[in-house]
Each structure stands twice: as C-alpha cells, then as structure tokens.
C-alpha cells in the first residue's frame, strides 16, 4: 500500500500513475482527473493554489484508499493530489482504480475522490480575473461568505 496516496508539488505524470494500476487479472481500470477550471460560481478563475497539512493529509489519504480496498473487490487503487500554484487545465487530483470487473473499479474510484474532497486537509485558494482571491468551501462556495446556502 506504500504510495497509495501522495502529495506532489510538481505536475503529475499521468502515464506513470496509470501504469501502477496494471495487472494481468484486472479487466477494468477507471481513472478520475480533477482539473483546474476557468470558472467557478460564475467567476472567471485565472489560477489557484492548494495548501495541505501534509502529515495528516497523507495519513487520511492512505486511510481512504485502504477503505476502498475493504469495500470493493479492486486490485489496485491510488491517488495523488497537487499542492502549490496551478494554472487552468492543470491536473489537481488524480485517482485510479483497477479491478477484475468494472462495477468495483467505478465504485472505488468514485469513493476515493468523494472522500478525499470531504476529509483530507487540503485547501483551495482561487485567484479571479478581477484580482480578488478566496478560500473555498468543499461545495465551491467562499468560506468568507457568511450567508447560508
């Protein structure tokens, strides 16, 4: 399970990551890439930065991948999350899961990205075209916007 979850301050090598999922008995491989979008909540985004509490993020990320193995009949699963400054189109997070059958591969990939977004201490700061920036909630709404949504 070593390297099942990692943080990276450099662009992700997607081919190398996918290669780690290979297995002669795995008939299905599902991957998820989360990319930096050029907009959020209707505002143009020019770049963003991720901060992580690295020690806890790694531990919680490894725990999530281990949970995926317990819940689904998968062969391999892995996730890498970027930290630092990213540009539009950069891959911010990558998840991959392989399994004998596609049900398990889809379910495990979805489980990992959902739990990563919900539980891992990583924060996204968006920089907008108007020069403003702001830390985001898990649902993509600003932290400093006091109104309940």
């Amino acid at each position: 399970m070593s390297g099942a979850f990692d943080l990276s301050d450099a662009p992700l090598d997607l081919a190398a990551l996918a290669g780690a999922l290979d297995s002669a008995s795995a008939g299905a491989c599902v991957t998820f890439e989360g990319r930096v979008r050029n907009h959020n909540e209707g505002k143009p985004v020019v770049r963003l930065a991720y901060q992580a509490y690295a020690a806890l993020a790694r531990a919680e990320g490894e725990r999530i991948v281990a949970e995926a193995h317990e819940r689904y009949a998968i062969e391999h699963a892995a996730c890498v999350h970027r930290v630092g400054t990213l540009a539009i189109g950069d891959v911010a997070v990558w998840v991959g899961a392989s399994a004998a059958h596609r049900d398990a591969a889809f379910a495990a990939c979805r489980y990992v990205i959902d739990e990563i977004k919900r539980r891992v201490p990583i924060w996204k700061n968006e920089f907008y075209a108007d020069g403003e920036s702001g830390w985001l909630h898990p649902d993509g709404t600003p932290v400093d916007d006091g109104a309940a949504r």
Binding site: A52, L56, A59, H81, V93, P121, I122, L136
Partner: protein, 79 residues
C-alpha cells in the same frame, strides 16, 4: 504548557503566520481556540472547524499535554 500551532487557509491569512509557539494553560483544544481566536480574530466559529493534535484528528475536549502540536482545520476544499 507550550504548544505548537499551525495555521492553514483562511486561518493563516487572519493570523498572519503559518505557525506559532504558544504558552497557555488551556486544558483542551476548545479553550486554546478561544484564546487564539480572541488574539487573532480568526473569523470562523469552532463548529465550522475540526481539530488535529499531533497529526491526528482529535475531539475538542481532548486533554492537551505540554509540547502538543495543535491545528485548527477550516472546512477542506481539495480535489
């Protein structure tokens, strides 16, 4: 007791630092957060935060010990 605090995201911006050493008699994270919030104006009620002690998620009434690393975690937004 001496604690090491780390700040992330909006709390880092409000505190104006990413870490600080704090001398405090706070018995648990709840009391410690009240102190640093009063000093820095961190802007988030504790109900919206989680807390970690020595790199693991913890409860707000966990007993603190001298030398603990304490981190108040804003709502996460990775992915």
């Amino acid at each position: 007791m001496k604690f090491k605090l780390l700040y992330f995201a909006s709390l880092r911006d409000r505190a104006g630092r990413d870490a600080e050493a704090v001398e405090s008699q706070a018995a648990d994270p709840r009391a410690l957060y009240a102190e640093v919030d009063a000093r820095h104006g961190l802007g988030l009620a504790p109900e919206r935060l989680r807390v970690a002690v020595n790199g693991q998620f913890a409860t707000w009434d966990r007993a603190l010990a001298d030398g603990d690393e304490v981190v108040f975690l804003p709502p996460v937004s990775g992915g």
